[in-house]
């Protein structure tokens, strides 16, 4: 279980996140929605401590991870893997090396700096890539891959960390609809099959409804909705996205890519 207590972040005079408290049971798939700048990324980045909280606590399985320093902090980052909107692979390195870098926190510094990876690590990387259907790309440079392929490689790198939790910060915002489906399906599968808690920032509401057990809506640094997708009504959605009640131009599909909606399910395409 992930417990977040009064977590807040200020950047100078600007408040990114006011004071957020959340309980997330292990194994849940949670979608975090909200406008750009609402504080979604800040929340995720504070959980794995890429961003330091201004105040509040983060507790994972009874351990206060918000006060970790040094090696335990690096180990914590490895335990809650992160997926980024722009994939954040090392473009000039091959896919296999990128994936094996998921072992960074588990290896000795010297062997990792010299890129000395054990056969077990190589086999594990191939297995992770196979799960994402990318093993055939193992020896290519990461920069030669399409966006969808890069994001799946990034997920394979996350799997190499043998994580207990997966944080995904707008994982499909830069992808075409088909790649978006592949990536979301992969996250869902990892959540179901591995029992890994997934916390996923999304700005397409229909994706959140389709894939997540629970949706958290954030507006102006505060949690304004927390519940199952079915409980999310039009008025709440308008509040999350800051749209006036009488503005007729807005409906849920406005948060989605039109092509995404227009596309039939992949299964139907195959049949």
């Amino acid at each position: 279980m992930l417990e977040i207590r009064n977590l807040g972040k200020r950047f100078g005079d600007a408040t990114a996140l006011k004071s957020v408290s959340l309980d997330i049971p292990a194994g849940q798939m949670v979608g975090v929605i909200g406008r750009s700048g609402a504080g979604k990324s800040t929340l995720l980045r504070m959980i794995n401590r890429l961003t330091e909280p201004t105040h509040g606590d983060i507790v994972w399985r009874g351990e206060a991870v918000s006060s970790l320093r040094g090696k335990p902090l690096l180990a914590w980052r490895a335990r809650c893997a992160m997926i980024f909107q722009q994939f954040n692979l090392v473009p000039r390195l091959d896919v296999l090396t990128n994936v094996m870098l998921g072992r960074a926190a588990y290896k000795g510094t010297l062997p990792s700096l010299l890129k000395l990876f054990s056969p077990a690590e190589r086999a594990m990387a191939i297995h992770a890539l196979e799960r994402l259907d990318c093993a055939q790309l193992a020896l290519q440079r990461a920069e030669t891959l399409s966006g969808g392929q890069q994001q799946r490689v990034a997920i394979a790198r996350a799997l190499m960390q043998a994580p207990e939790m997966l944080l995904a910060d707008e994982p499909i915002a830069s992808l075409d609809p088909r790649s978006a489906i592949l990536v979301m399906d992969a996250l869902r599968r990892i959540n179901r099959e591995d029992g890994i808690t997934v916390l996923c920032n999304l700005h397409t509401l229909d994706t959140a409804r389709q894939y997540c057990d629970r949706i958290i809506g954030i507006a102006a640094g505060e949690v304004v909705f927390d519940g199952v997708p079915a409980a999310l009504d039009d008025a709440t959605v308008r509040r999350i996205y800051g749209v006036a009640e009488n503005d007729q131009r807005f409906d849920e599909s406005a948060t989605s890519t039109a092509a995404f909606d227009a596309m039939p399910p992949l299964v139907a395409v195959a049949a």
Binding site: A123, M124, I126, L159, E193, D194
Partner: protein
Amino acid sequence: MRELISDIDAAAIADTRARYPLAFAAPLPVRLGRWGAWLAFVVFTAYCFWTFEVSPVRLWAGSGKLMEVASHLFPPTVGEAFNDYLWALLQTIAMAFIGTVIASVLALPLGLLCARNVLPVRIAQFLFRRTSDTLRGIDQVIWALIFVRAVGLGPLAGILAIIISDTGTLAKLYSEAIENAEKKPVDGIRACGGNALQTIRFGILPQVLPLMLSNALYMFESNTRSATILGIVGAGGIGFYLADRIRTMLWEEASFIMIMILVAVYLIDWLSKLVRRRLIGAAPDTAGGLH
């Protein structure tokens, strides 16, 4: 199920290796090539040491004499010509400043013309690149000797030497920065219907200007140091006094002059840091450091 590294046994490794052999080891010829290259590198390095008779014994013996020379340098003594030194040092700094300013302006068009992404014409690029190679390929001191002949002893020869050699060096650094610039803003301006000059001005320059400024400021500092050498060959500045004090074995005064040069270089470094911060601003993303 979540796979852990401990789940991977010898059988799993063997199975994966059979399916993806190249993920475990590069092909034999590639590996042989890599080892061969390393071997050649080590052998050549060892050969250089051997042929120049660099050995720990000689280094040890030499260090004794070095200490002897060093002991002559203390205590640094100002002597009777402090005002002359100060004046000559200011002259050196002024030479370096004027030379660097003019060189960095001249290097901009030359750097652009050398860059593959700005001028994709093979033959033109060849010509401009060889031009910049030639300018910097001949050392500053040689240029200074040439200009001393042409325009006589004094700072003008030094300034001309700095301009010529630094135009070549900065053009190379600029053109490399320009070639590494992101293509996205360039496409953005081109898609607006921007012409070549507009595209360079707004698509490329804002990206590379901070690096160019850093390079130019570094050249200013570097020129202040090397302008002392120019003084030795008669091209004006503090180097004249330094060479003279060394020639006449006035080591304590020589070390005083060296300290003056060091202080000047520190000051320039500090000033260029201020200028950089003022003009470029702090990078927003580095606030958290690496952790």
